[in-house]
């Protein structure tokens, strides 16, 4: 793109490309959407309760 678009002035400060890891806008959009997906809380396989006291049975 820089080969096609050439400015006709010099910028006061150098322009830095802030796009994340060269990701396209679409990829960034998807990444943000994924952050909002998912459940309410974690699931841990084959576990029920850990009471955390000596006198109670540990269920798992």
């Amino acid at each position: 793109m820089s080969d096609l678009l050439k400015g006709n002035f010099d910028t006061a400060k150098p322009v830095v490309d802030n796009s994340e890891d060269g990701q396209t806008l679409e990829q960034r959009f998807e990444k943000e959407a994924l952050k909002k997906l998912g459940g309410s809380i974690a699931f841990v396989a084959k576990q029920e309760v850990v009471w955390g006291d000596e006198d109670a049975e540990q269920d798992d």
Binding site: F29, E30, E32, A33, L34, K35, K36, L37, G38, G39, S40, I41, A42, F43, V44, A45, K46, Q47, E48, V49, V50, W51, G52, D53, A56, D59, D60
Partner: protein, 349 residues
């Protein structure tokens, strides 16, 4: 496109659909989204936890008559199948455990749940089920999550409903017990206390509690609370408590559709905007999975989060020391070892 008009080309194992691919990643996606927030909430809640009661206290209480419990979640079948009316007509006297999202439904029907459960750490959405004294029209315009969904359609009339739940909790709160997760947002904790509910604290599990240096064990060492496998969502957490905390042996779940009726527009699903962002309008269908319920001879559809909940629930039910009856009469939660049965039959047994 209406969901009922969608083609039902099943994806194969070789070519899983976009939705199926996401189901496989849902545990990790959930962890990335909620874990830091949940643990930050747990640290912020520490002073309140130290002054409050642990969920352990409920082990010594006899809650509800007999060995039955009914879990009330807020899926669309809750209204369609008139769960509250059935419970009242049957003079049901077993335990009733409600998700916070079905609290309004219960109270409107004159049912005070024996236990309410809350777990999601979201900073602004969950407090809405308790009535948010700070809610403004600007908030509603910014987040239309409740208005779009059919979890409780009355939230479409949001401000009026908000005032109603505040009033109901002011009246009935002191008669209610609530199992508040350490992961809950301060706004939720504040509303539970403000309304005079009896608060019982617990930790959701984040990883294998047998790992001595794991997150679950570390958290338990900090706050001393029991750690419960919440199964990804509040409905599953409520079911787990019915069995593992209250010791009930026959547990019915209601309003646990984990999916949508075929005539529900995609726009009314929980992750519509995210689905749109990921798949685009033309591939939106790929985000949803259509499932035929053979017990009802009816099609439903679901999204990756709900399908993940279903997988988690089936795994938990397999290891549980109780019989589980799905009395939702709708949705996608069926399969061994769940008994899919009408609520009327469970109540009569």
């Amino acid at each position: 496109m209406d969901a009922s008009q969608a083609e039902r080309e099943p994806a194969t194992a070789d070519s899983p659909s976009l939705g199926q691919q996401l189901v496989a990643q849902m545990g990790e996606i959930t962890r990335a989204r909620i874990q830091d927030l949940a643990l930050a909430n747990a640290r912020a809640n520490l002073p309140a936890i130290r002054e409050g009661q642990s969920l352990k206290a409920l082990r010594d209480m006899e809650i509800g008559e007999g060995d039955k419990a009914v879990v009330i979640a807020a899926g669309p079948s809750l209204h369609r199948k008139q769960v509250a009316e059935q419970l009242l007509a049957a003079d049901y006297d077993g335990a009733i455990i409600a998700t916070e999202s079905s609290m309004l439904y219960c109270l409107r029907h004159g049912i005070i749940p024996d236990l309410v459960v809350t777990v999601d750490p979201h900073p602004s959405r969950i407090v809405r089920w308790f009535g948010d004294p700070e809610l403004t029209e600007a908030d509603l315009q910014e987040d239309d999550y409740f208005q779009r969904q059919d979890l409780d359609s009355s939230f479409a009339k949001a401000l009026r409903t908000n005032a109603e739940i505040i009033e109901l909790l002011e009246h009935y709160g002191p008669q209610m017990r609530i199992a508040v997760s350490s992961s809950s947002a301060s706004s939720v904790v504040q509303r539970a206390h403000q309304s005079g509910m009896q608060v019982y604290w617990w930790n959701p599990m984040y990883d294998d509690p047998n790992r001595q240096d794991g997150i679950t064990r570390t958290l338990q060492a900090e706050n001393g609370l029991p750690c419960i496998n919440a199964g990804g969502n509040v409905g599953s957490a409520a079911w787990m408590m019915a069995n593992a905390v209250l010791g009930k042996k026959r547990i019915a779940v209601t309003g646990m559709d984990l999916g949508y009726y075929a005539d529900t527009p995609y726009r009314n699903t929980q992750y519509y905007y995210e689905a749109l962002a990921l798949a685009g309008e033309e591939r939106l269908e790929e985000m949803y999975m259509h499932i035929y319920n053979p017990h009802l001879e009816q099609w439903f559809y679901t999204d990756p989060a709900y399908l993940w909940y279903r997988d988690c629930f089936l795994q938990m039910a397999e290891h549980a020391r109780c019989a589980t009856y799905n009395c939702t009469e709708g949705g996608i939660l069926f399969g061994d070892p769940i008994h899919f049965t009408p609520l009327a039959d469970f109540l009569a047994a």
